[in-house]
Symmetry: C2
Subunit: 209 residues, 2 copies
DNA sequence: GTCTATACATGGATAGAC
DNA sequence: GTCTATCCATGTATAGAC
C-alpha cells in the first residue's frame, strides 16, 4: 500500500543505493576506521539519520557493502565445472577469469585484501576465509584432476597448488601497488607458463607459445 | 654534561623505548587509525605528554616505529652477494632467509602488508616501495645470473621472477591468515621446487628431492 | 523516510607547574 | 622529562518533528 510517487515528499528510494555506493568508495579508498559516517552521508547527499534508518550503525553499512560485493565473487566460483580440456587450460582459464573480476573491482579487492591479511582496523569481523578456501580448493581440485590424468607430475600436489596460487596473487598484488606499470593478464600468463612447465610430466610437455 | 643518575628525578630513559614497543604492538594488532594515543601511553605506562615530548604526534611515533623495523629488512637485503653456487640454490637461500625474518616479525609484516596493499587507513605515507623493489630486483638479478649461466631457460625472465616472488608471497600470506596450519619453510620449498623445475633447461634438470 | 538539532564519548594535542 | 588538567575537534548515534 504505497502512496503514489507524486505524493511522496521525495521519491528518493535511491538513497539507500547511493549510501552503499558512497560507502564502498570511501571504505576502499580510506579504510574502515578512517572513514567517518559524516563523509559517507555527504558523499551520498543524504543526512545521518537516513543512514541509521536503512542500516543501523556504521558497522551495519560496512557489513552490508561487503556482503553485496562478495556475492559477485561467490557467483563466479559457482560457475566452475571440470571439463574435458587439458587441466592446465582449465587452471589458466579459471585464474584468468577470477583475475579479470579482480581488475574490475580492484578497489574492493584492495579493501578485502587489507582486512584479510592485515590488522582488523576496528572493523567488525567478516568471514572471507570461506570464499578464499573455496578458491584454493578449486585450484587444488583441477590440479588433482591433472595428476589423475597423468598430465601433471605426481607427489607434490601442495607445492603445485601454492605455485599456481602464488602466480595469481603476485600479479594482482603488483597491480595494486603499481597500477602505472600496467601489470595485467599477460603477466599472469607468463608466470603460469613457468609454473605449468614445472608441473607437467616430461613426456607430454610441449611449448605453447 | 648529564647529571649523575642518582640526581635525576626518574631514571626512566626506557620510557621512549617502551613507547615504541607498545606502539608496534598496538599498530600491528589493531591498525593505525584504530589505535589511540591513550592506548599507547597506557600500554607503555607513561602519560600523554611523554609521548608528545619524544615524538611529536601520533604520526611521529608511527613513522618512527616503521623506520626502526624497516632497517632490519634493509640490512638483510644488503648481505646478499652473488656466489658461484647454482642460481636456484641462491634463489632458494635468499627466499628462505627473508622468509625466516618474516616469520620472526610476522606481526610487523602484517601491518606493512596491509598498508602497502590496502587503503591508507589515515596513516601518513611511508615509502615501502623502495625496499620492495629492491627485493624484487634481487630475485630478478639472481635469475638473470642463472639465465646467463644457461642454468635457466631464456626468454621469460619476467615470468620466472613473478613465479618465484609469487611462491614466496603466497606462503607467508597463508601463514598470516592460517597460523594454525603451520605453513612454513617446507611449504616454501615445495612451491619453489615446482617453479625451479619450470625454469631450468631440460638438459641440466635433475631431481633434488 | 527524511529532516534539524543535539547528546555524549572519544579523539589528538597542549598549557603550565614541577 | 614528566606530571595534572584541560582544550577543542571529531566521532557515532539518537530524539522528536514532519
Amino acid at each position: 500500500m504505497e502512496k503514489p510517487l507524486s505524493q511522496r515528499p521525495a521519491p528518493d528510494t535511491a538513497a539507500r543505493e547511493r549510501l552503499v555506493m558512497a560507502a564502498i568508495g570511501l571504505f576502499t579508498r580510506k579504510g574502515y576506521a578512517a572513514t567517518s559516517v559524516r563523509e559517507i552521508v555527504e558523499a551520498a547527499r543524504v543526512t545521518k539519520p537516513v543512514l541509521y534508518y536503512h542500516f543501523k550503525s556504521k558497522e551495519g553499512i560496512y557489513l552490508e557493502t561487503l556482503r553485496e560485493t562478495m556475492e559477485e565473487f561467490e557467483a563466479l566460483l559457482e560457475t566452475l565445472a571440470p571439463s574435458a580440456e587439458p587441466a592446465d587450460f582449465q587452471v589458466q582459464r579459471f585464474c584468468g577469469e577470477v583475475f579479470e573480476l579482480f581488475l574490475k573491482r580492484i578497489d574492493v579487492v584492495r579493501l578485502v585484501h587489507s582486512i584479510m591479511y592485515g590488522p582488523p582496523q576496528g572493523a567488525p569481523p567478516f568471514d572471507f576465509h570461506a570464499a578464499h578456501d573455496r578458491m584454493v580448493e578449486s585450484i587444488r581440485g583441477l590440479i588433482r584432476l591433472g595428476v589423475a590424468r597423468r598430465e601433471f607430475r605426481d607427489g607434490n600436489e601442495e607445492g603445485m597448488t601454492l605455485a599456481v596460487l602464488g602466480a595469481f596473487n603476485v600479479v594482482y598484488e603488483l597491480r595494486m601497488i603499481h597500477p602505472e606499470r600496467g601489470v595485467g593478464r599477460d603477466a599472469l600468463d607468463w608466470a603460469l607458463d613457468v609454473v605449468f612447465r614445472g608441473m607437467k610430466r616430461a613426456e607430454i610437455r610441449q611449448e605453447r607459445r
